[in-house]
Structures are given as C-alpha cells and as structure tokens.
Symmetry: C2
Subunit: 232 residues, 2 copies
C-alpha cells in the first residue's frame, strides 16, 4: 500500500515549498537527535506544517528519513568524483596518498563552507548513519556513497602500491571513524582540550586529518610488529 516516494509530477506545484520546509526541518532534527529521538510531530512543528502533510508526501517516517538522505546524495557524490577526476588528470602517474586524500576530502569540507546550514546537518546525519549498525535505522538501508568510496580506494591503491587491499580497507575504516566523529560535533574534544580545540573548527580538522592519515598510510604496512602476545 502506498508506494509514495517523491511525488510532484508537474513542477508547477508552487506550494511544493512545503516539501522543502519539511525536509529542512527533518534534516536538522534527525541530525541532532537521531531517528528515534524525533517524532513526526516535532518535525511538523519545526517546519510549521501539519503533521499529516509529512505522511502525504513521504508516507512513513522511514520514507521521510530516506528522502532526507537522498536529497543531497547526488551533489555530494558528484563533487567528490569531480575532485578525484581532476586530481587523477593533474597528478597522472604520480599519485601521493596525501593528494588522493585531499582530493576525496576537500569537496566535503567545501560543502559546508557555505551559508547553507542544512548542509552541515546533512553531513552530521550521514556520519551518524555510518557509525550505526546497519538495519537498526529504518529507511537507511541504501548506501548511495559506496561506489564513489570505491573510486577513492582505487586511487589510494595507486598512490600506495605497497599496501594490500586489506590495509586499504582498514585504512578507510579508521578514516571513516575520524570523519564521523568530526561531523558529529559532540563538543567532547572542546572540553577535553580545555577549549584549545573546537568541534566546529573544520579547517583545523581537515588539516590534521589529512596530515595524520596521509602519513599513517604512507608509512604503515601493519604487518611488521604487533604480534599482540603481551596480554596483561
């Protein structure tokens, strides 16, 4: 019953701005409180529309969540892909880990370097999604970013030919963790550092993230030592 998805067949619908208002409000609230921490009514109130309207456009709460994710996915993927293609042409044959890393990360940080506050919420939402077990959040089964991430890893492979595929994937695993906690803006590092670092200082975050992980993969082969052995 009800296969509603995006509706709006004719773009004549001037009043369709309600849909955007709903998506904006949902984006902000879902990013902050998570799927189960927000009600349809909360979102409707923030969007200044009636709660039933959310069901009219998105059928279910999970459908709304999926629509929020889908809205900006293409833009993010396209900018990442374009940046990496640009780098691949520029540095053809002379890839460095730092260069590839920067090419992948830069568009994302540029994405929030705008007045559009919704974009920041969006990345927070995606990050929150990436650190949640699959299946516990309804409407989040799709993974629209994976193909582009595979391209990123392919470039990394060329930049660091000595790294095994396992190394590369674990590298991305650690990187995705650092990215997630960064977009989450928990305020934790602020308190821990006594105000020396600020969770919303994305320029510093980008700088340290690139430097740290570039060196990490360049030098790390993870095979050498670490035979665990020492228990207690």
């Amino acid at each position: 019953m009800a296969t509603v998805a995006t509706r709006r067949r004719t773009n004549k619908a001037r009043r369709g701005e309600s849909q955007e208002k709903i998506l904006d409000a949902a984006e902000a609230l879902l990013a902050t409180h998570g799927f189960n921490g927000v009600s349809i009514k909360d979102i409707a109130t923030a969007a200044e529309v009636d709660a039933s309207l959310l069901h009219y456009y998105f059928a279910t709460k999970a459908g709304l969540h999926a629509a929020v994710i889908a809205r900006r996915a293409d833009e993010v993927n396209a900018s990442r892909l374009a940046s990496m293609q640009r780098y691949a042409e520029t540095a053809a044959g002379h890839f460095t880990v730092e260069g590839v890393l920067r090419a992948y990360l830069e568009p994302t940080f540029a994405f929030v370097r705008t007045p559009d506050a919704g974009r920041l919420s969006y990345l927070t939402l995606i990050a929150q999604l990436n650190s949640t077990p699959t299946g516990v959040i309804p409407g989040a089964e799709v993974t629209p970013f994976d193909p582009v991430i595979q391209v990123f890893i392919k470039l990394l492979r060329e930049a660091s030919p000595a790294s095994s595929d396992e190394d590369l994937y674990w590298f991305y695993h650690m990187l995705s963790g650092a990215i997630s906690v960064s977009w989450a803006r928990t305020g934790r590092i602020d308190r821990l550092s006594g105000g020396l670092c600020r969770s919303d200082d994305f320029e510093s975050i980008a700088r340290h993230m690139i430097a740290l992980f570039a060196e990490g993969l360049t030098r790390d082969r993870a095979g050498g030592g670490v035979p665990s052995a020492d228990r207690r």
Copy 2:
C-alpha cells in the same frame, strides 16, 4: 521519592541478582538500538522481570542508562591506568608513540577477549556515546573516562615532544573516531571490502589502528615540518 542508587547495605540480599539481569539486558539492548530505540518494557522483557522493577531500582530510564555506564567504568579505567603505569616504568625515558598507544589501547581489546559478551556491548555503548552530541542522551552527562584519557595524552606528549598540545588533542579526536566506529561493528567495512575485512575482527583492528596512528603522530606535525627522528 526514592533516592535509590545501589542499595544493598548488607550483602545478604540474595535477590539482588535481578538488578544484574536488568543491567545486562539494558547493556545489550542500549548498545544495539540506542537510548531512544529501546523501551523500558523491551528491557524488562529481555531481563525477564516486571517493568516496574526497573523503576524501583533506577527510578527513571535515564537513571538506568547511567547505571549501565557506571557499572564497568572503574574496571576499564583501572586496567588502562595500570597498563600505562606499567609502560611508563618499563620504558622510562624512552617513550615511543607506538608504545604509549599500545599501552592505552591494549587493555580495552583485552577487555573483550573474554567469554563475557556484555563487555563487548559495553564498549559499543560507550563508543556510541562518544560520537553523540553531549546532552541529547539523558543520563550520559558524566564522563568517567576523561581523567585517564588525560594521562594518555600526557604520555603521548612525552613520546612526541615536537607535537603541540593542539596536535595531540586532535590526534586523540581522530583516534577516538576510529575507536568508536570499530566498537560500533556496523558491518559497513565488511560489505565495502567484499568480505575481506570483518567488523568483529578486533585483532586486525588493533593491529592496523596502532600501526596507522603511531606513524601518523610520529611523522605528522600538521604544519609541514617533520623534525622528529623517533621511530620505534
């Protein structure tokens, strides 16, 4: 009113095992579904007790959450501290980033190298907490791990004297992200790597995490210079 906290003045209270059963069930369910994804009734059902009993012992849902966190905090802190103290004595004056990193991380990985499945849930819960904005999860305002983390950073400072405090705190920020996503066991890297990596392969995770971050901080100054000489 009930100012219930731990009760049990005389340890005679044989029936106190209900409390443990509740904490065990809450630990597992909260780790998987998050605070707002689980109901009091869910936990009571899993613990095979009446829902009212949760209120009797912990007053509120937030109180139960706080109790779950508090239960194992001392053990985690003590093992981390002991490991770092042991390292400080052994390697006195010759700290390395890898050594300090290993001393801090190893007890946590050892913590789940036991038949007690609850410990794994516990770390998942803590990790989930660390990547959630402060204030959105009731009963999670306390931060029982920060003091020991400060000790970790103090040792790092000695191991990498060329790093600024800002570098060190951002380093911990990135590390905490990698740790969080690891304990979250999202299954994401499994799918991305086509089964090459497994989210629950903590031995591989520990190996790559230590190697990656050890090299990252050793070489990274985030500014550009690379004055260090210290390697293992």
